[in-house]
Symmetry: C2
Subunit: 313 residues, 2 copies
């Protein structure tokens, strides 16, 4: 099994990327190989610094880098030898089992749609993010930014995609799906949430528990929390800022420490024909390591095949 990392992605790349990749290789201890994709002159010396610890890592050269400020679609198409384009090409060719990057979110989404593509039947893939639960473990929230604007049928599918992920990757037996809303009662909310409610209510593939509210993110009501990408993004960034504030104030707590993006390392793109994970721009080696371990977990679980077979029927 091969789990790949864009060695050029993230504010602290390639140093943090290489360090995190070496860390992940040690933890995987041979269960999977780590593949590093990036500019040879930048990555090789860093690998050499790690000596024997980096011996099992595979290096794949890519001469170009997509920078954070570039137009995602344009950059992806023009820079066919960028680390992100090379990664997706290898993923699509079956040479990789998962591809992770802390680089441009936009380019990672564009690459997913252009190369491995959405699973037939999936209207729009979504980015999922982990939500720590007070009772322990985690739930997932989706979409957190791939689709600012959503249709009811997309929210319904997010419920299905999230349920599959929660079941096969997080190991939650029968994941409870909650629709983020501004009130619990059926009929509350926007035209979008009202219509999505009706679809989810009769969908046999999800265990829909109805509307949940902003206060229910961290409790045990729902394992899978669905919303449009605009709302999910606001929620995610607000949670991150809460963690940062607590951290600055040196208020530490095991629950709130899970708000740290490093704890999970990255956000999977769900609904594409393969395993891709997007990391935070400021990813540290620990975050990179956890993103790669998550990629391994996704690949091992066979989640993308589960999604394909569910949406085929």
């Amino acid at each position: 099994m091969k789990i790949a990392l864009d060695a050029m992605g993230g504010d602290f790349a390639p140093q943090a990327a290489v360090d995190g990749a070496v860390m992940a290789a040690q933890q995987l201890n041979g269960a999977a190989q780590i593949v590093l994709i990036g500019q040879e002159e930048a990555v090789r010396p860093l690998l050499q610094q790690h000596g024997a610890a980096a011996a099992d890592l595979i290096f794949i050269p890519a001469t170009q880098v997509i920078a954070m400020g570039e137009h995602p679609a344009k950059a992806y198409q023009q820079k066919q030898d960028s680390s992100i384009a090379v990664g997706y090409r290898m993923l699509h060719a079956g040479e990789l089992d998962a591809f992770c990057s802390a680089g441009s979110t936009g380019a990672m989404l564009v690459g997913a749609m252009f190369s491995v593509k959405a699973v037939p039947g999936v209207l729009r893939p979504a980015i999922a993010n982990f939500v720590p639960k007070l009772a322990g473990g985690q739930g997932i929230l989706l979409d957190v930014g791939a689709n600012a604007e959503c249709k009811p049928e997309m929210l319904e599918q997010f419920g299905e995609l999230g349920s599959l992920y929660a079941h096969y990757v997080l190991g939650i037996e029968a994941p409870k799906v909650g629709l983020m809303n501004l009130g619990e009662e059926e009929g509350k909310g926007t035209a979008l949430t009202q219509a999505a409610y009706q679809l989810l209510k009769v969908n046999p593939h999800v265990q829909f528990i109805g509307n949940i509210e902003g206060r229910d993110l961290f409790n045990s009501k729902a394992d899978v929390i669905i919303c449009d990408g605009y709302t999910g993004n606001v929620v995610l960034k607000m949670a991150e800022s809460i963690y940062e504030i607590l951290n600055e104030k040196k208020m530490h707590d095991p629950f709130f420490d899970n708000f740290n993006y490093e704890a999970f390392g990255g956000s999977p793109i769900l609904g594409i024909n393969d395993n891709a994970i997007i990391g935070h721009g400021v990813s540290t080696p620990l975050a990179i390591c956890n993103m790669l371990l998550q990629g391994y977990k996704m690949a091992e679980s066979g989640i993308s095949d589960q999604i394909k077979s569910t949406f085929k029927s």
Copy 2:
């Protein structure tokens, strides 16, 4: 000056309401009179318990109560002698300077629209909520639930309403207005936020600083944060739950203590012809007291006249 309270509103009414009203009367120390509206047999005995401390409170009987579960519009129209309907009638007649209730949010909104009504020119009044700032002081977030679905022109007006409130009530010289979005760049977001951005950019009445993100709620980028009522409600309830979790974990901090709804007591309805504030259902006496003090501050500032004269032109 007369600041009125629905003595029957809130989960712990009338006890918490009466206790909070007495507390507010003591703090106002004659600057304004507190008017309690409610069922005589329930409220009078509680007032008597307070003895001399309650001597300056004015009691106005209302025989009916609108319960939390009732249909707001139906209940408001059918229960014309409810504490909320009586309060709004008196407010509209100029017998009160502000009306506060921790009762049904829906009935408070319906009452506002039916009695004192929206300011001519205001498309839809909004509910504003306070946001504590890391640098001290507070900003406001609107809408937090009056309008789940918004048009760009509504968001633009929320910017104007919020700016007036921040200036005249919070004393912020030139309030900075930020549009909640999933990215900072112009052009990001939904059709709604994209269109609202263009309106705000050229609006001479607001100091628009552009898009802000979920991570900017508590920093100093914006004093007035604009979003649709669905998103604002999710954000507000998430913030409340963070406070509750910190509180349960006994993690106390002056900044996070301001997440406590009790600190501000209630959310003003902005864009109506008078001063009305909606309190949290679980309002304690302290929350009730702070809601009344906020009502006094609003009345004293002349905010509703400022809004009227701004939207007339």
